[in-house]
């Protein structure tokens, strides 16, 4: 190749690569140092462009569920059945000020773990079901649909119909609007040091669903069981 004429042929095998790449060294020596920054920038830009440039990364698309479809993870089986707008819902433990209404989700939940799960804020159902528009807002009231027990515990393997209620400005939603609900999966952690036992935390969006909002006005039917409640 670029080997000068007259150089003795190498006899040992190790000498072969040395001779073969000698031209790289020779070429590199001819590149002015000032170019290095330019070449580096060019390479960086080329690589960035190859991965889509500075375009906003598209969010990972979550599986889309429809109302009444079950979402299952290791902790819970959750079926969001209805989204209801109602004037007030003291049975679910929420109080409204003038100009506010209650947005309620009616959810079937079954505890798939082997310990009872509380539904108090920050646990199980309140971290699993979130509104897509305001994912940080946990439900302000959680109660059973049948006997309005507030913050009920979910017993393993026992299905319960739960009402999750958020207080919202009266003009934010209207009947027929589409409400997007995010369903999260949590991870089971085992406590160390001062925390004892196991707990679920770190909710990560796993599915999304769109429901049509029903407006029941001052309606009483949400807090009282209807014939289809136990399904």
């Amino acid at each position: 190749m670029l080997a000068p004429v007259g150089e003795p042929q190498p006899t040992e095998p190790q000498a072969v690569p040395k001779r073969r790449f000698r031209w790289v060294r020779a070429a590199a020596d001819r590149v002015p140092t000032k170019w290095v920054a330019g070449i580096g920038t060019g390479v960086f830009l080329a690589v960035t462009a190859a991965f889509g440039g500075l375009e906003t990364v598209e969010a990972v698309s979550l599986p889309e569920l429809t109302a009444g479809e079950e979402h299952r993870n290791d902790q819970l089986a959750v079926t969001v059945k209805r989204a209801v707008l109602i004037d007030e819902l003291p049975e679910a433990g929420v109080t409204v000020e003038p100009g506010e209404r209650v947005l309620a989700l009616i959810v079937d939940a079954e505890n798939l773990w082997d310990e009872p799960l509380p539904t108090t804020p920050g646990y199980s159902l309140s971290s699993t079901v979130a509104l897509a528009d305001d994912p940080e807002a946990e439900p302000e009231g959680i109660s059973r649909y049948d006997d309005t027990t507030e913050n009920p515990w979910l017993q393993p393997g026992v299905l319960a119909t739960i009402v999750l209620a958020w207080v919202v400005p009266a003009d934010r939603h209207a009947a027929g609007d589409e409400l997007r609900v995010v369903l999260n999966d949590e991870t089971l952690f085992t406590g160390t040091a001062v925390i004892s036992g196991q707990y679920w935390d770190n909710p990560v969006p796993a599915a999304i669903m769109a429901l049509d909002i029903e407006d029941v006005g001052a309606g009483r039917d949400v807090a009282e069981p209807d014939p289809g409640a136990g399904e």
Partner: protein, 182 residues
């Protein structure tokens, strides 16, 4: 001579260390509750809790004070008292273990002995109710644990072992109203 003695001694120490690590109880073991096993009808006494389970019933529905709910339910009738002090003497731990799953006494009945206050020496009677899946009532082994703190570590737990599958299943069971025993 010296060399093999050192090797032997070293090996012995490693084996001893391994054995020590093996027999050292872990945290859960060291903090285990003190179990007081008792039969139905017998009085079991722990640090600050004395309990007599007077009966266990299985039913499709439970009712009390106008509240009723479909189950299945397991209803435990009991008498309970504190032993040393009224302070923090509430029946706050009531669990049922069946087939690796733990159920917690239901907070749904409007009147129940679960989380109720106890008095020293004067037993109160009433019921606690467990809402269970169907398969739990068909199992052969169940353990009822009763204690004073929701966190049962390092305190006494009164434990009753029984066979849910042998219980007569009734349609509807009424919980006992909580009150002074007899």
């Amino acid at each position: 001579m010296r060399r093999w003695a050192a090797a032997l001694g070293g090996t012995a120490l490693v084996v001893a260390a391994w054995g020590t690590a093996l027999v050292t109880p872990d945290d859960a073991e060291a903090e285990r509750p003190f179990s007081v096993p008792v039969e139905i009808g017998d009085r079991g006494e722990g640090r600050n809790l004395a309990v007599t389970v007077t009966g266990i019933r299985a039913a499709d529905a439970a009712t009390i004070d106008g509240w009723d709910a479909e189950g299945p339910w397991l209803i435990v009738d009991l008498e309970a008292a504190a032993v040393q002090s009224d302070l923090r003497a509430t029946l706050s731990h009531a669990t049922l273990s069946v087939d690796g799953r733990t159920y917690r006494a239901s907070e749904r009945p409007p009147d129940s002995m679960f989380r109720s206050e106890l008095a020293v020496g004067v037993p109160r009677s009433g019921s606690i109710a467990f809402e269970l899946p169907e398969e739990a009532l068909g199992d052969d082994v169940a353990v009822l644990s009763l204690g004073l703190e929701a966190d049962p570590r390092l305190d006494s737990l009164i434990e009753v072992h029984f066979e849910p599958s042998t219980l007569d299943r009734i349609e509807e069971a009424e919980l006992m109203s909580s009150g002074w025993a007899r």
